[in-house]
């Protein structure tokens, strides 16, 4: 069966510090991968998606970037965090239509 992992689960970072969130999927190959951000009590904002290694599409221009160095690994990064980057970051994978979300990372930028 397929599983999706995200780490860390929670993170507190100062403004201006770098960020690296990792997501890995097990039990499948060549999945579509997604990064979402969810502000407290709000909906899901799609940040990036990838249909293959090295293929990244950005939905919202901002100070975040994503990379897919391996088939089942998706990384979300930032060189300098802003206060507005706080939120719940969710990685998801999709075999075709439906999406399966990881447990998420709660990021607080102070």
């Amino acid at each position: 069966s397929q599983t999706i992992h995200q780490w860390p689960a929670t993170l507190v970072q100062p403004v201006g510090s770098p960020l690296s969130l990792e997501c890995t999927v097990e039990g499948t190959s060549n999945p579509n991968l997604y990064w979402y951000r969810q502000a407290a009590g709000r909906g899901l904002q799609l940040l990036f998606y990838s249909v293959g290694i090295g293929q990244i599409s950005s939905e919202v221009p901002q100070n975040l970037s994503a990379s897919r160095p391996q088939d089942r690994q998706f990384i979300l990064s930032s060189k300098k965090l802003l206060l507005s980057d706080s939120g719940f970051y969710l990685c998801a994978w999709s075999p075709q239509y439906e999406q399966y979300f990881g447990p998420g990372t709660r990021l607080t930028v102070t």
């Binding site: 997604y34 009590g41 709000r42 909906g43 899901l44 799609l46 998606y49 249909v51 599409s57 939905e59 969710l90 075709q96 239509y97 439906e98 999406q99 399966y100 979300f101 990881g102 447990p103 998420g104």
Partner: protein, 111 residues
Amino acid sequence: GQQVMQIPQYQHVQEGEDFTRYCNSSTTLSNTQWYKQRPGGHPVFLIQLVKSGEVKKQKRLTFQFGEAKKNSSLHITATQTTDVGTYFCAGPLSGNTPLVFGKGTRLSVIA
């Protein structure tokens, strides 16, 4: 751009009452999906509807895709406290484009 709308965003119901949530798209959807996010958790895929007018049931939950494939509904019969959470609808323009999620409806059940 394409929009998927859910109104209202918050709803409180008495335990045992029925609950219905509608989801409207500005464009025709190839399929529609529903997800549930429990407080503090992550969204979990519930169901996918593909055919015009399709109806699917999961215990007390009934999902329906509109005839024009531009709207869908979720109906919960006799809500229970376990139904608490935020329900999102979503749909892509086509099979290969990312899902567009509605803003979700947070359901509170008063015991």
